[in-house]
Amino acid sequence: MVDRDRLIRRMRQIVGDAGVIHERNQLRTYETDGLAAFRVIPALVVLPETAEQVQAVVRACHQAKVPFVARGSGTGLSGGALPAADGVLVVLSRMRAIVEVDYDNQRAVVEPGVINLHVTEEVAPHGYYYAPDPSSQLVCSIGGNVAENSGGAHCLKYGFTTNHVTGLEVVLPDGELVHLGGKGPDPVGYDLAGAFVGSEGTLGIATKVTLRLLRKPEAVRTLLAAYDSTDAAGEAVSKIIAAGIVPAAVEMMDALAIEAAEAAVHPNYPDADAVLIVELDGPEAEVSHQFAEVERLCQEAGSSTIQIAQSEAERALFWKGRKSAFAAVGRISPDYYVQDGVIPRTALSAVLRRISEMAAERGLRVANVFHAGDGNLHPLVLYDADVEGEEERAEELSAEILFACLDHGGSITGEHGVGADKKQYLPRQFSADDLDVMQLLRCAFDPDGRCNPGKVFPTPRLCGEVPGKRRVHPVEAAGLAEVF
């Protein structure tokens, strides 16, 4: 057992007294992230301010054989920043410097605690922006985005965090500092930056992130189309894709989600069973040509009303309703689960039908908010924890929605991550061998399994002690864990 007081003293030497939190009430405010269903009180919380401090903190954990978990703004929806019991929570919210903006090469180098939207705010006066825009972009951190490979509404056209991170400075779980990728193209060797992004904090802690900046598009056009069914709205999306148009974003909300958004931020959505937000961006001539076509296709699919954003303010209002939708559901239901399943877009109607059948069977309501362009569903299963048995039924329904996604060749998570929440479902998507092979990567980075333990993968596993020939680990011999 590690002496907690000694660890506290060591951490104070590294980050100073103000950077170590160990009082129980204070620690408890860190016991959960954006997914409040999971709670674990960490042994202590450390708030480093520099990469050197992160390195020293991680090294101290390594030496003390103490697990650690990195946390940014704590907005993740899969329990990815859930602390390890008896472990150290490394909170990066004080590392929020935008270190460098290189407009000539369209890159920004930022610390992990920088808030996603602040990057765009910083570079916007020069006509640039940072493309990945998760709904929580006004609070989520770049470090968290890197861990989760965050997407956002505009990733349909522009890709995810992984497509916008070209370089990382990373503290490995033993305290070694390495640079993966960089500013330039095609770094030599394995694409470890690519492997690191989306690894949910299990491979190390990023202390600097090099981001691609994009030139603000010349034109942006946004419309809101109302439909009397999600099927009809889905039909519109199919038509748009079939026409060879790649919108910057296509978002859909169903009646319940519209109701919630209206209650929260009053975006003035039309009264409908489904609304579609379609946004095109790019060079003016191309956008205006394609936008006319999109408008026509939306009408063809039976839209009752089409509103076109006439100003930036109106466009922002369309999006505000969409981006606030998760939290807004708090206005129409005391509790809810958010899921993040993905399906091939063409299976949309079938899966939505299946979801509403399953919900009806359990007497529950499901609000749907999703990235319709890429098939990323966000079913929000509404329930009231005070009603006996509802929470269990909601949990079951959430799981079955994910299984329905898998039945259609999809994935259990499109952008929220597996984390603590969905690790038990990962074996439904991947075979034991698949997971074993993924574990090889973990073993190369974190052979002792102390970096964000208990996340992503379902069972505790150990890495072979030495490379090459594998030996039987004593714990394995005792039948307590599997070995790689």
Binding site: I21, E23, N25, T29, V91, C140, V265, F326
Partner: protein, 453 residues
């Protein structure tokens, strides 16, 4: 003679809250832990710590309700909340943090034993600020007063050695004062009477910014309002209410209600954001008092911020041009607590020749927050300087806002940076425009707190 911390330091009171209006569990449960409030919370912006964010404070309330004790750490994080309510604006789930923190502060005030020096300083502040008479007595050579009275008082309690930062904050805030400008008890409407309104002249505003009250009365009159300013009125209780001093606040509230009821006005106009926001809460504050609950609710419904009222009323008086660039600063208790953002901008923007500029990080508090800058001087100073820098970056000629606390705080913050910027209350700008005063009158080497000759 050193003051020792009492033996009560470090004590814990289990459970954190008693049964007299603990923070409402149902309101706490509205929080879905999404974190959207974090970047707008001034203390989170400063320190990046969960416990000093709205989400963290709500979490502390929740674990307090669940039985964790109210210890010094917990109290510290509640104390450090500025009560700016930026989180209320940011929250997509509609969490009523204002109600939660108010209830919590009352619990803290009742149940948490403060140290002797905390008690002494609080007693000083609450015996001085809400009392126009005492503040007024203090007006004539203010510096001398500070030396003779405040400092003497503090020296007697030995506080001067213990509270350099708080004392410094107090001293830095108190502006040089110009001549008094009293608002008449009744100002007739010019032209046709469109409304009869009461005007809260307040305590801090009346003493430090009498010219703002005078300007407000003139503007209201010019817009066709008969303006009653009952001389019996005093402090509205905002400072007490926002510090959890429920009884004191209730006393002030009852008196204020009674005074304006007697004045027989349709509307009570307030030109200090913090006052307006707490007067709109009287109904909630006095909800348990069977004699007053209904009267209070009725009164609250009549309260309007001056900018809100004028925007509703619509302009009648002609505005003369004021060739100025003006940065408008959102007072938290106006923008967040009362949701009033457009009316002051609308009023200013309608003045011919006036160019309005927005301030970066507009949603972040300037650190004034009632008496926060006295009780928590360090974070208040940091926030003040942050705001001052954003303010200077606008390149505006003049800062306009609608709250006396912000004016004091920003003036002091600019001074610390070695900078000056002319400041005015929105009402002063409108008054100047209606009177056709030259722009120079608003700019003329006239820092906040000084009246024109």
């Amino acid at each position: 003679m050193a003051v020792t911390d009492g033996p009560e330091l470090g004590t814990q009171v289990p459970p954190a809250f008693d049964r007299h209006h603990p923070p409402d569990k149902a309101l706490i449960d509205d929080c879905v832990h999404c974190g959207f409030c974090l970047p707008t919370c001034p203390t989170y912006v400063l320190w990046g710590e969960e416990m000093d964010s709205p989400r963290g404070r709500i979490y502390l309330m929740d674990i307090g309700l669940a039985g964790e004790p109210m210890n010094d750490e917990m109290v510290r994080h509640f104390d450090q909340c500025l009560g700016c309510m930026a989180c209320v604006t940011a929250c997509p789930s509609g969490v009523q943090y204002d109600k939660l923190i108010e209830a919590t502060r009352q619990q803290v005030e009742r149940r948490h034993p403060r140290t002797r020096r905390e008690r002494a300083f609080r007693a000083l502040v609450f015996s001085l600020f809400p009392k126009p008479r005492r503040l007024r007595l203090a007006r004539a050579p203010l510096r001398a007063y500070q030396r003779a009275r405040v400092s003497a008082l503090l020296r007697r309690t030995g506080l001067d050695r213990r509270l350099p930062a708080q004392l410094g904050a107090l001293e830095a805030l108190l502006p040089d004062l110009g001549p008094m400008e009293k608002v008449p008890e009744l100002t007739p409407a010019s032209g046709q009477r469109r409304a009869r309104v009461g005007l809260l002249v307040g305590c801090v505003q009346a003493v430090f910014f009498p010219q703002v009250n005078a300007a407000t009365a003139r503007v209201l009159a010019a817009e066709g309002c008969e303006v009653a300013a009952p001389p019996e009125q005093g402090c509205c209780g905002a400072l007490s209410l926002h510090s959890g001093r429920e009884k004191e606040a209730s006393r002030y509230a009852r008196r204020t209600i009674a005074v304006f009821e007697a004045a027989g006005v349709d509307t009570v106009v307030v030109n200090a954001a913090g006052c307006g926001s707490s007067m709109k809460e009287y109904g909630h504050l006095l909800r348990d008092d069977p004699k007053w609950a209904e009267r209070a609710a009725r009164f609250s419904a009549k309260v309007r911020d001056a900018t809100e009222f004028l925007a509703e009323l619509g302009p009648a008086a002609e505005r003369q041009p004021l060739p100025l660039t003006v940065a408008y600063h959102d007072a938290c208790h106006l923008a967040h607590a009362q949701g009033i953002r457009q009316p002051p901008r609308q009023l200013l923007g309608a003045v011919p020749g006036l160019e309005l500029r927005e301030i970066e990080e507009a949603e972040i508090c300037c650190g004034s927050a009632g008496v926060y800058n006295l009780f928590e001087p360090e974070p208040a100073a940091e926030l003040g300087e942050r705001k001052a820098r954003n303010l200077l970056a606008t390149g505006a000629d003049l800062l306009a806002t609608a709250n006396p606390g912000c004016l004091l705080q920003l003036r002091a913050s600019l001074a610390r940076l070695g900078e000056r910027l002319p400041m005015a209350h929105v009402m002063e700008v409108i008054d100047a425009a209606i009177r056709g005063a030259p722009a120079g009158e608003l700019l003329d080497g006239r820092p906040a707190g000084k009246t024109r000759a």
